[in-house]
Amino acid sequence: MSVTSAVTGSRSTNTRSNLTTVLVFLPPALVVFTIFVIIPIGEAAWYGFYRWNGLGELNRYIGLDNYLSLLTNKVFIQAAINNVWIIIVSLGLQLPFALAMAVLLADRRWGAVTFRMIFFLPYILADVACGLIWAFMLDGLFSAIIQWFGGEPYFLLADRQWAFTGVLIVIMWKYFGFHMMLYIAGLQQIDRSLYEAAAIDGANAWQRFRFVTLPGLGSMIRLSVFFSLLGSLQFFDMIVALTKGGPLNSTHTMVSFLYYFGIGRMKVGFGSAVGVVLFILCASVAFGYKRIFMKDD
């Protein structure tokens, strides 16, 4: 009796002190979260049902018109396609490249640390500064170099077909360092003895990579893909600095579309509808991905 009551007694005081901690720390966080996240999302959903220029009264209810018009808006469709391209290039080119670099630089070889820093540097640069520098290079410096070699000057960011490819190149350059660092951290946690065991069993370099490295990096890869997916959907700053969505609205992403076609044109109702669509998309991707792929992490 004494043991059980002692156990029950201490458990109930534990629960009580846990409850107090929760009650003290949760409200401030909840209040902040509600004011800065929940309420704006709710307001955006509300504004999305109106035609509103952001200034006057909210009195032109149009129901789902904003959302329906998005389905036929050519620029929005192009923007959505651009976002998909960013995802494809990130997952298909950038991440494998980052992984290759990580494998090369994970061991403390000569020069490895220096190169890690060099590759990580683009990630530290502010998006806008990066965009402005690259805009100057792609549309100025590179053309000058081409001219110097006797060719016709070519302006990548003014070319409707290829401007977005230019944007993709800058994206690849900027973020692969971040993923590389994630993989290096993951690689350094893999037990070295696993490699030795595999080597003893006669596995070659590729097989060691496939059967020891990749599974060992599993959770890190899933995490990096998660960051990449969400980042691709929310891509904005560099578009503004690089192309402003041009030429001829061919390089918009969904967020830059929201900014230029919603807020920039004083169509806040329309912009809010785009915002809601983006929110639903990002939330579904985030929660869906976590559920399906990161269940056991």
């Binding site: 220029n53 006057g56 053309s143 000057p153 030429p247 044109r265 004083m266």
Partner: protein
């Protein structure tokens, strides 16, 4: 201990009370950044402060053009609302007035009528009430590099018709010089060319009728014909390489660096071409010529009609009386002539044209004065949403991505959606 607390509280209360004893008013003035404008308005504000002791004027010119336009709606609804804001009149101003953010200063109308040219002042009237006043007039025209055009064997000042203009462009291009610099990245430089063509072909009522849905609204053949003429120009490939991606400031800088023969821009380009040039100095003003936009044969518009801005200030709803007084003060000839003498802008105040020392600005002021019809920039007149669509379609027509008919339809759709 109690004594200390009481003493502290007493001091605190006195400090709180003192502002009401001093009776200082502060007028907050906000506009888009521009070092020359800021300098001249700061100097006017200093004189205003001296003439009205107890009043201070704080100027906020930190936001660049696009950033200012983007932030203004939020600012107007916050407690940081400036007292006096820069405005281009037109549709955006009407939106701001309808939302109740702008003060009705019709009481000052009589005073202002004595100071400002009537045509310009009426741009700031809506439904018979006055909400602000213009400070500067600007003009879109053809600015040309005299040396380069002479080298190509063309005299721009002799051009009168659109076809003659196209011929000149061909000649300049044949001489290996870029005929027309274009900031297509910002879109609005192209829009002004389209606008002028619409004006020349449609005459003074063209926009009014389109907005009212008369004569087919925006599907009026004038809009389509003007679009075709714009395409004619673009087909000659007169712009610099990569023009679709170049914003306005670098294009002005290129003009200052003598990289092109002409640029169709507003009077502000005189400062921009030196600010943005590689050397920082730009072209020598004696080397720059100004020519009016050519007339289109058979069009309803006169060759003397001008397209330009009536930029000025609006007084916001919560502004103190001093704000309206300051606006009147800025319009007085003694103050306005500072801008004229400094070559900063063409003041809309009466009696200041004589002070324009810069011959190009004087020429522009003369052109505006002689115009029977001075049209506000189309993208301002039409408001934020349709204005941006007009920008988009102008570039689309020139780049061959939209036909003139599709462009007119896009304008009509955007207008109907308002």
């Amino acid at each position: 201990m109690l004594k200390k607390v009481l003493l502290g509280a007493g001091l605190g209360l006195t400090l709180l009370a003192s502002p009401s004893i001093a009776e200082d008013t502060t007028v907050h003035l906000m506009f888009n950044s521009g070092p020359q404008n800021e300098a001249v308005w700061r100097s006017m504000a200093d004189d205003f402060e001296k003439a009205n002791p107890g009043t201070k004027v704080e100027i906020n010119a930190s936001l660049e053009n696009e950033a200012y336009k983007a932030k203004l709606p939020t600012l107007l609804q916050s407690k940081d609302r400036p007292d006096v804001i820069y405005s281009w009149a037109g549709g955006v101003m009407e939106d701001q007035i309808n939302a109740g953010f702008i003060k009705d200063i019709s009481g000052a109308r009589d005073d202002l009528k004595k100071l400002v040219a009537n045509g310009a002042l009426s741009a700031y009237e809506v439904d018979g009430k006055l909400y602000g006043a213009p400070l500067m007039l600007s003009l879109m025209g053809i600015w040309y590099n005299k040396e380069l055009t002479e080298k190509a064997g063309v005299d721009i000042s002799k051009i009168e018709t659109w076809d003659q203009f196209l011929d000149a462009v061909k000649k300049i291009k044949a001489a290996g010089i870029t005929p027309l610099l274009m900031g297509g990245g910002d879109k609005w430089p192209m829009m002004h060319i389209y606008a002028y063509l619409i004006m020349r072909m449609g005459g003074p009522d063209v926009l009014k009728n389109a907005k009212a849905g008369k004569d087919g609204g925006f599907m009026n053949p004038v809009f389509i014909e003007a679009g075709k003429k714009l395409k004619e120009l673009a087909d000659l490939e007169p712009f610099q390489d990569g023009w679709l991606g170049v914003p306005y400031p670098p294009s002005a800088g290129m003009f200052g660096d003598a990289k092109g023969a002409m640029i169709i821009q507003g009077t502000w380009v005189l400062n921009a071409q030196s600010n943005n040039s590689a050397s920082g100095k730009g072209l020598d003003r004696a080397n720059i010529g100004l020519a009016p936009f050519p007339m289109v044969e058979g069009g309803k518009g006169a060759a003397t009609d001008t397209l330009g801005g009536v930029q000025g200030f609006l007084v916001t709803a919560s502004a103190p009386e001093a704000a309206t007084k300051m606006l009147e003060f800025f319009e007085t000839p003694d103050q306005a002539k500072k801008a004229a003498e400094g070559g900063v802008y063409i003041p809309s105040s009466i009696g200041t044209a004589q002070y324009l020392k810069d011959p190009l600005l004087a020429q522009a002021a003369d052109m505006i004065g002689k115009a029977a019809w001075h049209q506000n920039f189309f993208d301002q007149d039409l408001g934020a949403s349709v204005g941006r669509v007009l920008n988009d379609v102008s570039v689309a027509i020139a780049a061959g991505e939209m036909t003139p008919e599709e462009a007119a339809q896009a304008l009509q759709d955007a207008w109907d959606e308002l």
